[in-house]
Amino acid sequence: MNEVTKIDGIGSSVRRTEDKKFLTGKGRYTDDINKPGQVQAYFLRSDVAHAEIKSIDTKAAQSAPGVVGVFTGSDIAADKIGGPICGWVVPCRDGSSTKEPPHPLLAQGKVRFVGDAVAVVVAETMEQAKSAAELIDVDYNELTPVVDFVNADKGAQIHEEVPNNCYFDWELGDESATNKAIESAAKVVKLSVRNNRLVPNAMEPRSALAEYDSLDESYTLHTTSQNPHLTRLVLAAFMFAIPESKLRVIAPDVGGGFGSKIYVYIEEAVCVWASKKIGRPVKWTADRTQAFLTDCHGRDHVNDVQLALDDNNKIIGLRVDTVCNLGAYLSAFSVVVPTILHGTLLSGQYDIPAIYTNVKGMATNTVNVDAYRGAGRPEATYLLERTMETAAKEVGMDPAEFRRINFIPKDAFPYQTQVALQYDIGDYEPHLDKAMEMIDYSNFEKRRAEAAKRGMYRGIGMSSYIEACGLAPSAVVGALGGRVGQWESASVRVNPTGTISVFTGSHSHGQGHATTFAQIVADKLGIPMENVEVIHGDTDKTPFGMGSYGSRSLASGGSAISKAVDKIINKSKKIAAHLLEASEDDIDFKDGKFVVGGTDKEKAFGEIALAAYVPHNYPLETLEPGLEENAFYDPTNFVFPSGTHIAEVEIDPATGVVEVVDWAACDDFGNLVNPMIVEGQVHGGIAQGIGQALLEDAHYDENGQLLTASYMDYCMPRADDLPSFKVGYTNTPCTHNDLGVKGCGEAGAIASPPALINAVIDALSPLGVTDMSMPATPQKVWKAIQESQSVAAE
């Protein structure tokens, strides 16, 4: 299917149709939009991590220049506006459910993290709003902050509703079988790892612009969202108790998301509320400091792993005990990330007969933690692939061979794991082999020796990952505690001249849907791609859809489009049969033409479109005019991309700097619609994974102050931190969607951190270093080198 049959069909690296506007400065992001009479909102945020609010005095601010309104939690409470909700909960081991404390839009009596919104000032200009906010006097009774999530159960209680600061204590798998495997094992490999806390850092800071139309009592919200329909649903049904039809949500061009723009944030809701209260459009745009303080963070786990092996180094059991930090309030998908999207991935690419995992989700006085590129799957892959590498070294096997003997064999699919998922298809040795070839694995020791001559430590490390994405079969989601459906929608409108408008419920914020989706339609209908326009991001235009996250856009959204196009083709055949005076069964559709089989009688797609809208010669008694079809696609399973990434590094012992000198990624994403775009997704994912492994760390001090709240303190990967990447593919097409596609958006971020840390440890292994935590900063690496040398000297 990936053979290029047409210049712009499926499998072709078509250049993106959306590029030109971005390259010429004509992108239209939320902050670029202004409305007549617009005012600016500024949020006064708590500068302490945990405190009771004794009083708030806003008098001076109310009368400051330019101020049109100052509001606090009591104003929100008076109007009975609800807060953000949790979209997915899980059962606890003791039979209770996840504890769900309320999350008020503006603080009600208590603040729970530095950045928690206490008041909002609305003024003519942002500068006036900021100046007025400084005049608000908040009297706090400070409480002991809870920052160390591992010991959060012993800290001061943050929410009345959450005893021991534990939101949930969840388990999956067979504990007794797993413990038996560990007890009877020839060898048990034990490892404790920390998955460092990250800040997603989409380059466009969050922004919202809300306006209220008093004539028809409706709101319009422009916002930085990955899923405008979900935003509308949550705001209308759960916060404002208004019909969805009274709220239009538009997510125009959105400058990256990586998970952080999935949820409804309090600022969006407050702007909507204030727009009616004040009677003028209200705009808010975060500066980067606010983004660091208030965007949901990602990761932040500690995992204790026990891997049981038999005499032949085959895995017979895996136990993982995890504690994770979910922050001050439960964000929309915060619960599912460390549980369902983490625990179910613990089998990786391996045939493991017994698995058990327990996850405790803790409340702390830090900002909420939720999905960040990969969302649970990077954490699962990190602990597993670090353990696989450690086990290989402990039993004296080459890490590739150790993985190979434990891979699920290719004839074992569909493969039922011990942690709920059933992998439909996969073949793992080919991507391992190809990645090894791409990086010239067999000659690595020569390169290590050459580097050693230069006084450098060279190392190689790999990671063979699997992910479950393409969220998701709704029934499964429901059974696992999800409160939403996970289908995707599409509406395909054929216009009278034969051009096509595709309305999708998914959302593009960098992924190139306008191109990829148009390729699918063009390919299936045999028409030029420029005749296809893709529309997304506006609840008044597009059908209700679930948006983009969890690498679902192509597998779910693309499948919905494909299904809608099939309906168009079916109806078109009926029209063609009428026009050609033939039986519908005799009509073949090929290359954009409807042909009566075995004859030269044909109608072009454009002629059918015209006939549908000018139905002068048309079977009106049996067929409606017009040519427009909707489809809702609910997948029957997750899709399971897999692959192997191999990193090669060089470490300078004088500085501790880790240089990534080579990278080979070989992924199985099933069929590729646009290989160029897929490759770009892989590059970006790897870069974020390298960032996690070497550079990035969100750090709160013991008082709950975020010390890394700017680009001066939080180390983002820059061009000169990264190498060029070698990217390759294998292909086992997905068995349960028509396109045979999987997802590619998160794979790089999932695969790369363990590959890189394994390489760092491998480089330092001649010194006796066996562990390294993320991020492997120069200071940490240098220290490890110094300590190993001092041990050697003793």
Binding site: R15, R16, E18, D19, K20, K21, F22, L23, T24, G25, K26, G27, R28, Y29, D31, D32, N201, A202, M203, E204, P205, D253, V254, G255, G256, F258, D287, R288, T289, H509, G510, Q511, G512, M676, I677, E679, G680, H683, G684, G685, I686, A687, Q688, S710, Y711, M712, M716, P717, R718, A719, D720, L722, S724, F725, G748
Partner: protein, 155 residues
């Protein structure tokens, strides 16, 4: 308040603005050209890079007043009508952008870098882009784009 006049993409713009108005706000808010972006508040991300008298500068880091009388080119002024600048074209051909938010700053930095050094190496490109952060692309295709752009610009 005070009047500031400068040439923006070849057009004289005169606005009465507060003395502490940043150049980026002059461009975005007062003139209404929103192609230049603001991605941080510490002069780190480079989304706001423009050309001031031919030199790439971060428009968030200088006052509009300091640009009085200067000639400024923003991303909107780079193309020749409908014809993209060779660097813009190179970014398109090499998939050098995803969400597009950092792109204006990236392209403006790249153009200046290549104008100064037509035979720019990959290493020099990576070092030269140190002041522009992209979260989407992993820089691989941006580096390829700048290389291709340099070739188109006569490198």
């Amino acid at each position: 308040m005070g009047e500031i006049s400068l040439k923006l993409n070849g057009k004289l713009e005169t606005k009465d603005v507060a003395d502490n108005t940043l150049l980026i706000d002059f461009i975005r808010e007062h003139v209404g050209l929103t192609g230049t972006h603001v991605g941080c508040d510490t002069s780190q991300c480079g989304a706001c890079v423009i050309h001031l008298d031919g030199v790439s500068v971060k428009a968030c880091t200088m006052l509009a007043k300091q640009a009085e009388g200067s000639e400024i080119v923003t991303i909107e002024g780079l193309a020749d009508g409908d014809e993209l600048h060779p660097m813009q074209q190179a970014f398109h051909e090499n998939h050098g952008l995803q969400c597009g938010f950092c792109t204006p700053g990236m392209v403006m930095s790249a153009v200046e870098m290549v104008t100064k050094n037509k035979n720019i190496s990959e290493d020099e490109i990576r070092k030269g882009l140190e002041g522009n952060i992209c979260r989407c692309t992993g820089y691989h295709n941006i580096v390829q784009s700048v290389k291709a752009g340099a070739a188109k610009m006569g490198g």
